[in-house]
């Protein structure tokens, strides 16, 4: 019985940890929006904007990855 509760708590905790991915999604959307607007207004800057956009996406994505790591820790390690 207690084992089942612990198992259920693991899954609930992993699900709750992934709420943090919300912020990363918003962040990635905002940075892509800004980069695309810049590209549309000034197509010459396409190359540099793309590089910086990917860097920015990697930064915001890292937040979601932290959540994912916590979720994995709950599922597979604890």
């Amino acid at each position: 019985m207690t084992g089942d509760i612990v198992l259920a708590a693991k899954f609930v905790g992993a699900g709750l940890a992934m709420i943090g991915a919300l912020g990363a999604g918003i962040g990635i959307g905002l940075s892509v929006q800004g980069a695309l607007q810049g590209m549309a207004r000034n197509p010459d800057t396409y190359g540099t904007l793309l590089t910086n956009m990917i860097l920015g996406i990697a930064f915001s994505e890292a937040i979601a990855i932290y959540c994912l790591v916590i979720a994995f820790l709950m599922l597979f390690v604890l």
Partner: protein
């Protein structure tokens, strides 16, 4: 445009290969349905006995990611030898693999020069390129067939029954094993970036070399970025704020190690979990699209790791709020 119009689009012979592989996949998935493997965050040990024991490190086992590291090193060394051979011949026009390496390095060097300046590009470029190449090869070899799927069987609580394919070669089959007779698989090789040790080591290397390059560029003044007492006595109010900001910089230096290592590890481990779960749920064809996605993620992460190292090193060479650089 004219050339494209005059030639009719033809599928060629490749479609038959794709069809053949899909049919083979369906047959294989029906004969031996894939099982959902046991997923473990830490790298699995291949041997029962530890390689060596030390009071500081504890027991050190031979893990499957160590073997993957050997594979990555061998591939990098082969590339080095091929390029060296091409350079020795003395021809100015690079061909084959050395041409590809030259094109890649030229792009990377231009990138370094545009953000670090011509003066420091020569110092920063080796770190940038070697980190990026290592992570790139590690991420791409992770996708090779045989990784995590060929290995040793061992007894386990949540195991599966086994079936003998050829003499001495077994496969896991779906179903409930009798208690104490279930087996699980430990692959000989597992993607190098899915081991936290590798990513932490790379992150430590990158951050430490960043400090070293900062000291080389600015001397002792580099450390005023962290413990800023230059304005504390002339302007006490702003000086205190500068001191607090410097302490935050010090913390962010440690956060860099964390974010470097967990970004790469998280991405690659998520890829591994996604691949095995999708493989056990939909064993036909869908895994190939996931592999394509993983290929893309691997490229991006290698680029991001190298690029961030380069950007941080370039920042370290320039003084904060610098007087002579602006």
């Amino acid at each position: 445009m004219e050339a494209r119009k005059s030639r009719k689009w033809r599928w060629g012979v490749n479609r038959w290969f794709v069809l053949l592989f899909i049919v083979l996949g369906i047959i294989g998935a029906n004969l031996y349905p894939p099982v959902q493997p046991h997923i473990q965050v830490a790298a699995e040990a291949l041997t029962e006995r530890p390689l060596f024991s030390s009071p500081v490190l504890g027991d050190v086992y031979l893990t499957n990611t160590m073997l993957a590291m050997v594979v990555v090193d061998v591939i990098l060394l082969l590339v080095v030898l091929a390029v060296q051979k091409a350079v020795r011949t003395g021809s100015l026009v690079p061909q084959g693999i050395s041409g590809a390496v030259e094109a890649l390095f030229e792009v990377l060097y231009n990138l370094t020069e545009s953000s670090a300046g011509a003066k420091w590009a020569k110092t920063i470029f080796p770190y940038f390129s070697i980190i990026m190449l290592t992570v790139l090869v590690a991420n791409l070899t992770k996708l090779m067939p045989g990784y995590e799927t060929i290995g040793l069987l061992h007894l386990s609580e949540h195991g599966y029954p086994v079936k003998e394919l050829f003499p001495g070669i077994f496969t896991l089959v779906k179903g409930e094993a009798q208690h104490g007779e279930g087996y699980n698989l430990i692959g000989f090789l597992r993607g190098l970036s899915t081991d936290l040790n590798f990513t932490v080591a790379l992150a430590l290397f990158s951050v430490f070399m960043t400090q070293l390059i900062g000291v080389r560029a600015q001397g002792v003044r580099y450390f005023t970025k962290f413990i800023n007492v230059t304005t504390l006595f002339s302007k006490p109010g702003f000086g205190a704020i500068d001191l607090a900001v410097g302490l935050l910089e010090l913390i962010s230096e440690f956060a860099k190690i964390l974010s470097f290592s967990f970004r790469l590890f998280g991405n690659m481990f998520a890829g591994l979990v996604l691949l095995v779960l999708v493989g056990s749920l939909i064993p036909v064809f869908f895994q190939s699209t996931v592999l394509l996605f993983e290929f893309f993620i691997g490229l991006i992460q290698a680029f991001v790791f190298g690029m961030l190292t380069m950007v941080f090193m370039a920042q370290a060479t320039q003084g904060h709020g610098g007087n002579e650089h602006h």
